[in-house]
Amino acid sequence: MVDVPLGPTGVIAAPDVEDVELYHPHSWLTKYVFSQDAKVIAIQYSFVALSVGLIALVLSWLMRLQLGFPGVFSFIDANAYYQFITMHGMMMVVYVLTALFLGGFGNYLIPLMVGARDMVFPYVNMLSFWIYLLAVLILVASFFVPGGPTGAGWTLYPPQAILSGTPGGQDWGIILMLVSLMTFIIGFTMGGLNYVVTVLQARARGMTLMRMPLTVWGIFTASFMALLAFPALFVGAVMMLFDRVLGTSFFMPVMVEMGQPLDRNGGSPLLFQHLFWFFGHPEVYIVALPAFGIVSDLISTHARRNIFGYRMMVWALLAIGALSFIVWAHHMYVSGMNPYFGFFFATTTLIIAVPTAIKVYNWILTLWRGDIHLTVPMLFALAFIVTFVNGGLTGLFLGNVVVDVPLSDTMFVVAHFHMVMGVAPILVIFGAIYHWYPKVTGRMLNDPLGKLHFWVTFLGAYAIFFPMHYLGLMGIPRRYHDIADMAFVPPSAHALNAFITIVALIVGATQLVFVFNLFWSLRHGKPAGGNPWRATTLEWQTPETPPPHGNWGKDLPVVYRWAYDYSVPGADQDFLAQSQPGPTRAGSGSIHG
């Protein structure tokens, strides 16, 4: 690190920054529908993503009904079951989690937290949302075409994804899925460029990179990763589309289907898996890193304590981001690739545990001797840490080749990734919504409803996914429509499956409480004021709440300190906002390296 000195007084002078020109909307349509304001775009993104999330939730109910009570619901035949699996997985991973963290939280928080008036290219930002909406509509349209949506599994592995035995394989399903993914990637690229450039080039006076809240660091790193990871999925989708539509053989080896030799040869199904997971593994961290960042800020704010090891938190984020590009083939241990690859990828996979452990220890050390307020956002943040550690530990099992081979394609895998990349990030999303809702609407979400939502969701998630590990160790395979006839499956497994299904229905239904709370509090919530959590970051210091177009009124904010000056001795309140002048405390993220 190189020392870069601050001005002689250690205080930054008044802004000498030329202000940006904003495009002001002229009509209701350009203000609320085709808006170029990042905050409106964020709400649009979040609303669409949460709606898709509800669809995907219902799909998971339908799957659970089949698994818990096989044969009772005759409309869930094998085809429908695979279609539900596929759509549930793809929707949740790409259209909900990615869109919500980057498109939703990214759009709302980045400009506010770095002290910008808006994203750097508001027009492109607006296009990003509308293209995302188009991608969602294409995806949802596949429910209504002949043959229904694709049932290839969310990983869309060829050759089965485009063969006639798979639902949607020779119909419209797979085509719509691939086109929707390509559309999503184009839309995301437009947004992602905005997020990255805004963080790099449009910060407020005094906002150095090492003073940025970790939320911004997380979203920034994830956006950058997404810009490098989505191309692989894009290329894979193009090639599979050609295989399906033009009859090329990129992924199609010599095959016999239903006794008939197919007119294909020489393709490599493994190639698709490499392309898919070169996207797919970074994707896990594209979802996880924003969650890491947000949870750091939630913990620090609600424990009234500065984040422990800020610099290491930043470097750990970057290290995880970089490492996640060289671990992808740990999803492919049983795929038939060269076994020596397994050695390399197992090693890199386990190395990721190091920066990740740094983050977990730092969260716990932030809580140590903190003034912990068990608010709803804090409850969700704490739940995240526990859940993430749980999911991470089973990741160590699956990252090792010898342990992974017997566990592959069992319910253990389902339990692992739902813990680590399903439940954990969604807990953060809920926490973040409870935390920032007051800034977005000016009103608090209802507290008792929030606590109800939290406890049922948190305990319920464990009741659902803990038993699944056990099922997996028993050898119950995943992605099976019906396991009733398997001789080795004991009756207790069926009882457990029925239990999981009932809990899943209850947890799912509880999300309606949350949705109700969102709408009810809009009108009837307690007025929040500008800074209900007494937080230091810039978005809580806006002159108006909710912030208007342009965020800051006449003068742009100036930043004097890092984001974590909590419990400051001698301060008027117990915290110092980032925009509050005064001497910086030693070690509190001054420009000095």
Binding site: M1, V2, V4, P5, L6, G7, P8, T9, I12, A13, D16, V17, E21, Y23, V120, F121, Y123, T189, G192, L193, V196, V197, L200, Q201, A202, R203, A204, R205, G206, M207, T208, L209, M210, F224, L227, L228, F230, P231, F234, V235, G236, V238, M239, F242, L246, T248, S249, F250, V254, D263, N265, G266, G267, S268, L271, H274, L275, F278, I591, G593
Partner: protein
């Protein structure tokens, strides 16, 4: 970037730095990580990085397909030969295409130069020449496609060997050709704006309602040089291998 100095507020602290120190100074400064880079340029650079990954994935997939296919790969110098005046010249068309595209990078660089000097007419004319050369490239590519299709090359098969030859050829050159075509389109749009004096009068854009400036020419140039550079790789890996 090496010329960049770190300035802190109006206090006058001004530290000349070079090399790694300058990089660190840039990254530890407030407001902008890259002091002399505008938003538009930064966005184009990062977009090109992302696009590099797209083309890399295409080319690596092509190499994988070529290595894993069970049938022999067609001989590029025979397939891409043109018979002119009775003699068969290997790779002649592709040589001309490459020459045209690289020349267009030259005219683009000159256009950027004149844009810096606010020379409206020369900039616009050079951009039009660039667009013309780009369109010529796409035209010759269309000719090449037509010739191959007449000879029986299809995405799913060809007369000489591995089916993946046609698949990857049409996919990769098609994807690159699309990039060039979009480049030509945007060159024409920017050239029109330059010619009309939009950047001198700070006229607002039709879609975005924002004022542009001459930097648009340079950003356009970044894209154009990138498309050109990608072609060099496609040329090397597809035609020369």
């Amino acid at each position: 970037m090496t010329e960049q100095a770190f300035t802190e507020g109006t206090t006058g602290t001004h530290i000349e730095a070079s090399g790694l120190r300058s990089l660190a100074a840039d990254f530890s400064s407030d407001r902008q990580a890259f002091r002399s880079i505008s938003w538009g340029k930064a966005m184009m650079w990062i977009f090109l990085l992302s696009d590099t990954f797209v083309f890399s994935c295409f080319l690596i997939s092509y190499m994988t397909a070529r290595m894993s296919t069970t049938v022999a790969w067609p001989n590029a110098s025979e397939v891409f030969a043109l018979t002119i005046g009775g003699t068969s010249l290997p790779l002649i068309l592709i040589a001309i295409m490459t020459f045209v595209l690289i020349s267009s990078s030259g005219t683009m660089a000159m256009a950027v130069n004149f844009a810096y000097r606010r020379d409206r007419r020369k900039t616009a004319v050079l951009m039009l020449v660039t667009a013309l050369l780009g369109a010529t490239f796409v035209g010759m590519q269309a000719f090449e496609w037509t010739k191959l299709i007449h000879e029986g090359v299809r995405p799913w098969s060809n007369p000489w060997g591995a089916a993946q030859f046609g698949s990857t050829f049409f996919m990769i050159t098609g994807f690159h050709g699309t990039h060039v075509s979009f480049g030509v389109l945007f060159l024409l749009i920017v050239a029109r704006k330059v010619w009309r004096g939009d950047y001198d009068q700070e006229r607002r854009g039709f879609f975005t309602s924002r004022r542009g400036n001459y930097e648009a020419v340079e950003i356009m140039g970044l894209y154009w040089h990138f498309v050109d550079l990608v072609w060099v790789f496609i040329f090397a890996f597809f035609y020369l291998w």
